[in-house]
């Protein structure tokens, strides 16, 4: 599954026109709501329940109170995985955001070739994470990869075998996969900035750089928050990519929470602790998206409630 996740609701005045007829529309939301309850919320409760049990995946499920939680919270792997998750989140955000904005601003200009660029930029998003990981593993092979292809010895590094390099490589590949997508979001957003603002600035003699800082960036505020939420919450669920690329290695250098959950549950057969980690994942994701929504400004809160 693609792991792009939650954008924030952006601010806007709630539509008031609907007035008193809401009763007649509630049923329209029911199919989606019930469906989501059945296959989204119910399984979530199931995971919560499993986190209070002991189960090896083959035998009986035995309720065991807080055992799984205790084991999980005392396991030194957990803080490390949280740290790795945080590093991936922070670095991939820090790399992707400025680049996406710059590229987005550039391709927003209405020139034919730039539209063409926008088309090509989208392609990485079409590939599955597993395919991307296999491709990069081959390209980064120190003996038969990119370095020997281009004849550049400096590219023959221990990309996936050195802890620091492996993390850097992972961030790079994540950026490769998602910068195009975020650039497109910014492209769209930049195109919505009223031209009159730039015209006024030009009359005042503001240069491109100044215009960027005083008009473009502030106008992109909500887009930045939306895109950041996608990146941040999405990075929690990176799984296929890491699993195929490094399997969490070298050692545990890239073992993020989602991967730890998988290894605990499906490789070590500890389903209880794996479910506890899953619950932690959901809580962290929820917390982060609420936090980012709050950063979006006051009106967002009412939006959240009032949509």
């Amino acid at each position: 599954m693609t792991t792009i996740a939650p954008p924030v609701v952006r601010t806007k005045e709630p539509t008031r026109s609907s007035g008193g007829r809401s009763g007649s529309v509630v049923w329209m939301a029911l199919p989606a709501f019930l469906w989501f309850i059945a296959f989204g919320i119910v399984p979530l409760l199931g995971v919560l329940w499993l986190s209070f049990t002991t189960w090896n995946g083959i035998g009986e499920i035995v309720p065991s109170g807080l055992d799984s939680w205790k084991a999980t919270l005392q396991d030194p792997k957990l803080p490390h995985a949280i740290w790795v998750t945080f590093v991936i989140m922070a670095l991939s955000w820090a790399v992707q955001t400025p680049m996406s904005i710059l590229i987005g601003v550039f391709i927003a200009a209405r020139k034919r070739y730039r539209e063409f660029l926008a088309v090509l930029f989208f392609i990485p998003l079409l590939l599955s994470s597993a395919a991307i990981a296999i491709t990069y593993k081959s390209l980064l092979d120190p003996s038969f990869g990119l370095g020997s292809g281009l004849g550049i010895e400096a590219l023959n590094q221990d990309w996936l075998g050195n802890s620091t390099l492996a993390m850097a490589t992972l961030i790079f590949i994540v950026s490769w996969q998602f910068i195009p997508f975020h650039s497109l979001i910014y492209q769209g957003a930049v195109r919505q900035i009223p031209t009159s603002m730039y015209e006024a600035a030009q009359i005042d003699g503001a240069g491109r750089w100044k215009q960027f800082w005083s008009i473009t960036l502030p106008q992109l505020k909500y887009t930045i928050i939306t895109s950041s939420t996608l990146m941040v919450v999405g990075s929690l669920t990176f799984f296929d990519l890491i699993y195929v690329l490094t399997a969490g290695g070298p050692g545990d250098a890239t073992r993020a929470l989602a991967l730890l959950m998988y290894q605990q549950g499906f490789q070590a057969n500890l389903m209880g602790p794996a479910s506890a980690i899953a619950v932690i994942l959901v809580l962290v994701g929820l917390g982060l998206s609420l936090l980012l929504r709050r950063l979006g400004g006051r009106s967002d809160d009412s939006q959240l409630e009032g949509a």
């Binding site: 189960w55 090896n56 995946g57 083959i58 035998g59 009986e60 499920i61 597993a130 296999i134 593993k137 081959s138 980064l140 092979d141 120190p142 003996s143 038969f144 023959n156 590094q157 221990d158 990309w159 996936l160 075998g161 050195n162 802890s163 799984f239 296929d240 699993y243 195929v244 490094t246 399997a247 290695g249 070298p250 050692g251 545990d252 998988y262 290894q263 549950g265 499906f266 490789q267 070590a268 057969n269 500890l270 389903m271």
Partner: protein
């Protein structure tokens, strides 16, 4: 390499993510509706039919299919239904279905730690008495194959298919070019390292990213320095079993080899699933490689004329000076294994046992596996080795037969939890991130888990 059993460790893991997720069915009374192969609980054909699940893909699947067909033709009243799964998928499916009481009559596996889990959950039949009564069957199988089928002194699985020892491959052309001889001891290995490095050839090819490849070095070095007893104690769950001085010695030797640039540059980024490690050997970029016997087939297929022209050499891992281990010992896959589900009906169990005692030990079975390029677990297959590969097959059979101890790969022998920690720590060891002492300490922490 597809279907060679070792490829279960093929971490390529497209199957990745999820593979595991399937594991879960276990709870609840209804398991997956068994659409494919007659689960045990809901019968599986009339008159004592049995079901059999195994791995898909050549070279194994055709041989397996042929065996089932022979049996079904001979036993129209008690047929076996077969289902094949891709490697990673199989591991998850089998767990899922066993938990949901929908497993097959015959459970295909790798023995060792995995089998032990089944035994602990009472999922498989104890075959000790059956082998006692059918000594003729037992006699047809290489004795070294039974180790990984034995849990707490009892036999829970029938060794089947092929033995796959790990051997030291080398590129004869590279040795000629540098003007050196294949090593006969650890000391000679260390002496060869600078000679190859001077010629800009990597002494050893190693797919370090795949981790289990690194593990083979530990397995052999520990065995050669201290014999098989040290790991046996770990396997038995003895407290602080890793603290043996031989382990420290072995780990130090490994790090010495890494520090002397014994492996190709950036080896921790080389992956085994792409076969890049084997390509290093047959393209002459590396001189030697420690790998499973199935590598021979891959190098034959991918290496152009390399194998045909006699470029590939092989030997058992050389002894270590002053080491206590028997140099005939080997490590690898002593066989594949078939267990009988304890949940199966009596009739199905009988059918499975009949399959064990007839088809699985007949001459066609032996011939089929030889033709597929493997060394059968069945005795006296040497006469069947013909053609260009005869020498290799003879040598592999020789190693398997001659081994005083044919040890199973550690990650398969240990529990899944311990295996994961082991592979982690091995990766760190090769990266020089942990000292031998730190390695021992963290491995002692998961003994018996």
């Amino acid at each position: 390499m597809t279907n060679n059993p070792m490829s279960r460790r093929n971490f390529m893991g497209l199957a990745a993510g999820a593979a595991g997720a399937a594991a879960l069915a276990a709870c609840g009374s209804d398991g997956p509706s068994d659409t494919t192969g007659g689960g045990t609980s809901n019968g599986g054909g009339s008159g004592g039919g049995a079901s059999y699940w195994s791995l898909s893909g050549p070279p194994g699947e055709p041989v397996r299919k042929a065996a089932i067909k022979r049996f079904n033709d001979a036993n129209p009243d008690a047929k076996i239904t077969e289902t094949y799964f891709q490697n990673d998928a199989y591991k998850q499916k089998i767990k899922t279905s066993l938990g949901a009481n929908q497993g097959p009559t015959m459970i295909w596996g790798w023995g060792g730690g995995g089998l032990k889990e089944y035994v602990n959950s009472n999922l498989v039949e104890d075959l000790t008495d059956w082998f006692g009564q059918n000594a003729a069957v037992k006699d047809k199988i290489l004795p070294s194959s039974f180790g990984a089928a034995t849990v707490n002194g009892k036999i829970y699985a029938m060794p089947i298919e092929t033995v796959q020892p790990i051997v030291l491959f080398y590129n004869k052309k590279v040795f000629d070019k540098v003007g050196v001889q294949p090593p006969k001891s650890w000391g000679e290995i260390m002496a060869l390292v600078p000679k190859f490095n001077d010629q800009k050839i990597a002494p050893f090819s190693l797919a370090g990213q795949s981790r289990w490849t690194n593990m083979m070095w530990l397995e052999f070095l520990l065995d050669r320095t201290a014999g098989s007893e040290v790991f046996d104690r770990v396997f038995a769950g003895e407290k602080d079993a890793w603290s043996d001085p031989a382990v420290l010695d072995m780990l130090t030797k490994i790090q010495d080899l890494v520090k002397a640039n014994g492996f190709q540059k950036g080896f921790s980024s080389t992956t085994a699933d792409s076969n890049a490690d084997q390509a290093l050997l047959y393209t002459g970029k590396a001189a030697m490689m420690l790998h499973g016997s199935w590598s021979y087939g891959i190098q034959t297929a991918n290496g152009g004329n390399f194998v045909k022209d006699g470029g590939l050499g092989w030997m058992n891992f050389p002894p270590v000076e002053g080491g206590k281990g028997d140099p005939s010992n080997t490590v690898g896959n002593p066989g594949q294994y078939l267990s009988i589900s304890s949940k199966a009906t009596d009739a199905a169990k009988e059918t499975a046992k009949k399959f064990f005692s007839t088809t699985l030990v007949d001459d066609q079975e032996k011939e089929g596996w030889v033709k597929s390029g493997g060394v059968p677990v069945l005795k006296n297959s040497e006469s069947l080795f013909t053609g260009g590969d005869a020498q290799f097959l003879k040598d592999m059979a020789g190693i398997a037969n001659g081994a005083k101890v044919f040890a199973q790969s550690w990650d398969q022998a240990l529990s899944p939890t311990a295996a994961e920690t082991l592979l982690d720590n091995i990766a760190k060891l090769f990266q020089l991130q942990v000292s031998p002492q730190q390695w021992v300490d963290s491995m002692n922490g998961v003994i018996g888990k």
